[in-house]
Symmetry: C2
Subunit: 202 residues, 2 copies
């Protein structure tokens, strides 16, 4: 596409590097900023720069945090005997939104993915193991809440094996048909597994 | 939604003010920036700030431009006898991409929309009229290429009436069924009008 201005072209190039944003959407966003007051653009860019410069990660669970240690790790109301292992900070947010979990977390920062060059050492797995072995009497259960994908399963398998020697119960979040979903439209793999892994009716 | 950090919350609020971007998408974009190198965020915000601070509008046609006058207005290859009136700069880009038009443009900066408080004086209509009256011997035809919506039609109607006294031919872009589209799936208003406004088979 021909742009009427070099400045527009550069901005579109930068914005379209964001995930899920193509050149057309980027152009729409950029033209929107041009039409609006300059203060809007300044507020946007300042908030992003401030975020990127000051963001911290909790020294215990590696979740995004404003402090050295995140609010969940610092809280006295959380059950410190259950630790939930997730890929990213947004998984913590998603689980917190359910209000069904009162334990603590550990954010890996991704999953093992040889194709993308991510091995166990790129993730916070070593830190997870030393955290559990240090608090072996406190942490009773580790929940693996990873994506139900090939990479997620590989990572869960790897962590489970590493946890064998430590005296903790390892569990995984339940997989099966979505609540409110239609059996007819559930993919066959999920449906098949939900029959094999059926549970007692309560 | 509960955010793990005030910085994240502020960034999400700013990003989600962009058109078509909700809180969830904003969070995804913001977390992406946090995960990437800080230079990426700096490159993005710098390009947006630079754009907003230095963007110019052509003094003749009000299209976005790097110079005082845009490349199209300055070009000697363009047919200065046909002037195409559009809403925004991206309409110029869309028409330029067709390679079917060699005339010049005039960007209104929007359409008349009483609901949004946009009257004729908020747009570059006065400038369009004085431009045409100044070049009355040069500009022979004015093409109204506005959106086929209520607001676009109102604006076209208004401009057409204002152009009555000036000695120019006023045309409108053709409306009808989309090329490659299926008659069955064309909305009834478009299909109905395309029958009423049928043209000689060539």
């Amino acid at each position: 596409m021909e742009y009427p201005s070099k400045l527009i072209e550069e901005a579109v190039n930068e914005v379209s590097k964001l995930p899920g944003i193509g050149k057309k959407t980027a152009l729409r966003l950029v033209l929107h900023l041009v039409k609006e007051n300059e203060n809007r653009t300044l507020a946007l860019t300042e908030s992003l720069n401030k975020l990127r410069a000051n963001i911290k990660f909790c020294k215990t669970c590696f979740n995004i945090s404003d402090e050295e240690e995140c609010a969940i790790c610092r809280s006295h109301r959380r059950d410190k005997s259950i630790l939930c292992v997730v890929e990213e900070s947004n998984d913590v947010m998603a689980i917190e939104n359910t209000s069904q979990y009162t334990g603590i977390y550990h954010v890996l920062g991704g999953v093992i993915s040889p194709i993308n060059g991510i091995g166990p050492s790129e993730l916070k797995i070593e830190q997870l193991l030393s955290r559990i072995s240090q608090k072996q009497n406190e942490i009773k259960e580790v929940i693996l809440a990873l994506s139900p994908t090939m990479e997620g399963d590989t990572t869960a398998f790897y962590i489970n094996r590493k946890l064998k020697d430590l005296n903790v119960k390892v569990t995984s979040i339940a997989r099966g048909v979505s609540i409110g979903g239609n059996l007819e439209y559930t993919d066959e793999i999920t449906l098949g597994r939900s029959i094999t892994a059926r549970v007692l009716f309560d």
